[in-house]
Point group: C2
Chain length 442, copies 2
């Protein structure tokens, strides 16, 4: 799994690895100017230009035409100073010694979806773990959220980790406390690979108490970073890192996020990259769900309440459809309309005769009599000296008179507000009226 | 507040009140055939036709052309039987004695937005309470939800009742346990009128333990029903009643609803009537929020997390805008970019000299020195024998070096994942790349 001589030479360019390792030291992560320089001149020529402290004149001219022309001299000085104090060969050796490998654009393990990042595509990625990054990310979803997650958030994150993993999906996330850690643990439990994208070197353990977690991920998934080995995390690196989480996966799910949260930054990257975006709702009394609700309210994210729904969102059309949530059926649903009307007309207390029941129900006497017989046989009603009334304690083997079900149905609650499930396309039960076009009269 | 002789005669038609009271006995609530009969021939002629057991031939011919022609003879028999066993004059007297009043289309208190219901418009409404129904409903929102609400649901409902009421909005809801009761109590506490729409006669107390609540509503708002006095609630009446809750208000909010819930039926009525629809999210682990999440997921409802957001939804454009939820600001936000870069490059442990800080931060030495001075003065960093490092216990009067604020800002947490609030239009922090059109490569 190391970037052995064989891998490097099979890629035909050990020099390119070293040049990219050098540039990863020189530039800030995601620096678009460095990105354009490398895209246009290649990594080796870029290194030479920086060491010579002279950028190609055409490049300088082109950059000066940018909307906000960068201070190229200052940038070049920074790159030069950092290059002078770094040792890319040592980086490669150190990484290799730690068990990591450098993957660059063109490597077999390079995830080509990162090419969509354009000039801010990472110069290279350090990988540490047994899983193949490119293959793992083919069916992957990012699950992100608050570091200071609530117990609700970590519970949901772990459930989604298990659910996505069991369905054969790889999870991509950061390595922080809270949602990140919980979702990785869930995915590991399911036996699926999981991808941790760090904002520091792959040999740096941040947060340090996640050492065992990262070790488990390396064993079953892969820990990756665009930072050179030994680099420590900073605020800026966390924010830039988020674009990788969004770009690697087919869609991003925000489990919990306060209004000021890095997870919302990842969500914005997902939208910019035309990736799918989901958000898990939570109690409106929880500040840690406010960011999710903002995404839902602005219709930027789809409301996701189960791993199946997330897979439905990011999956292949037709292959990964979630089963529609459906209301439970109760025995009463299978009664026909006339029987239902008769049942509704039967009093709870006292009693009523068939004639008055028929008038109240709005059906003929024959219909009423036949319905009463069926309802009594099924245990819904009983006859008293004062007439028919509802049974107070319905039989536990209550079933609809028409039903041939062998299974005893559950006891229906005597609840007048209980309504039958709305039909698939959700029209109102009473749709006899035609609403006018105006949303409000006058 | 009674339907006094004066009111009836000012409307010029005591006979119409009596005819409508009779028809309210004869027909099921919301019966569209009765609705069409009354719309075409007026209530008095309809009563005569039923008593004569002969519908106008043109009407019969027209009904036979309906997509699913109704059994008019059976319907007429039902109407006839019920009319024969009822006494509309006694109804009016009984209602008046109980302190209620009958309001019919054309009455000054008739809420004309109900005319949108077309043939299923109620034949009349019994009102009991001090508030004027038409005036109260001009600025009104329906708040509905589960009878078996969770403590979360009743808490939210009460909060919305108070919030809507304090902003001058009338609440419309049913009279059930759970969300209905809680939202009325909240609105009553705010001093605003509230409208209870019953599925039984206004003199029937269902559920009976809501007697004190309904008494309070009658004192400050109004209890209404389209059922004649003394009628008991049935399943069908609850469902038909829901269209009134949706039609009376400018928009409906679903606070909590299981997948099988009457609140979803009200929501469907609101959509059919082109009213606004909102849903309050909740924990995805709660079955009582599953219906709300379904509405959000299908983008039928807007995600509502505060009374202000509901008012923003149903209110007048420009007048009732909710303040946008905004992430909190922290002192660090006001640091300029170079200072932030320098702060990010300062180690937590040990220490670093200005030259290495400048290289790590990617700024010039002069910039670094000036930023270090400002950051030290503001209490972010401190100098040790080994160089500069972050202060472990930031001063409680920490402020940004450039800030002239007199108020001491809160202590920022030393959290590298803490991000500045996204700008208004929410672009990603790093937007240097141009995403391609394809949502996923290859």
């Amino acid at each position: 799994m190391l970037p052995s001589e064989a891998t490097i030479s099979s890629n035909g360019n050990a020099r390119e690895y070293e040049a990219r390792a050098a540039l990863m030291r020189a530039a800030d992560v995601g620096d678009p100017i460095m990105g354009r320089l490398v895209l246009q001149y290649g990594p080796s020529q870029a290194v030479e230009a920086i060491r010579a402290r002279t950028l190609p004149p055409e490049f300088t001219a082109k950059e000066a035409q940018q909307e906000r022309p960068p201070d190229l001299t200052a940038r070049l000085n920074v790159w030069y100073a950092r290059l002078a104090s770094s040792n890319p060969t040592a980086d490669l050796e150190e990484g290799e010694k730690a068990g990591a490998r450098l993957v660059i654009p063109g490597s077999p393990e390079w995830p080509t979806q990162l090419d969509q990042l354009g000039a801010s595509r990472p110069l290279g990625l350090w990988l540490h773990g047994k899983a193949d990054l490119r293959f793992s990310c083919l069916k992957s979803a990012a699950v992100v959220g608050a570091r200071s997650a609530t117990p609700y958030g970590t519970h949901i994150a772990a459930e989604f980790g298990v659910g996505l993993g069991e369905a054969g999906w790889t999870v991509v996330s950061g390595g922080a406390y809270g949602v990140d850690g919980a979702v990785h643990r869930g995915t590991l439990a399911s036996g699926s690979p999981t991808v941790v994208v760090l904002a520091c070197g792959v040999n740096v353990c941040y947060p340090s108490s996640h050492e065992a977690l990262f070790a488990a991920v390396k064993d079953q998934g892969v820990v990756i970073s665009e930072c050179p080995p030994g680099v420590h995390p900073t605020r800026a690196r966390f924010l830039i890192r988020n674009r990788l989480i969004a770009a690697l996966s087919r869609g991003t799910l925000v489990v919990e996020a306060a209004l000021r949260s890095g997870a919302l930054n990842t969500a914005a990257h997902a939208l910019t990259l035309n990736r799918y975006l989901g958000a898990v709702p939570g109690p409106i009394t929880s500040a840690q769900s406010a960011g999710c609700h903002k995404l839902l309210r602005e219709r930027k994210a789809v409301c996701i309440t189960s791993p199946e729904e997330m897979i439905d969102l990011v999956g292949v059309i037709g292959d990964d459809l979630a089963t529609q949530t459906r209301p439970p059926a109760v025995p009463r649903d299978s009664l026909n309309e006339a029987t239902r009307k008769v049942l509704d007309a039967i009093p709870t207390r006292g009693g009523a005769g068939p004639a008055s029941i028929a008038v109240a129900a709005g059906v003929g006497l024959d219909t009423a009599l036949s319905a009463l017989g069926g309802l009594a046989a099924a245990g819904y009603i009983e006859r008293t000296t004062r007439g028919w009334r509802l049974r107070k304690q319905p039989s536990s083997y209550l079933k609809a008179p028409e039903s041939d079900a062998l299974e005893p149905p559950p006891i229906p609650e005597p609840d007048p507000t209980d309504v039958p499930p709305p039909p698939e396309d959700f029209p109102p039960t009473q749709s006899a009226y035609q609403p006018s076009e105006a949303p409000w009269p006058g």
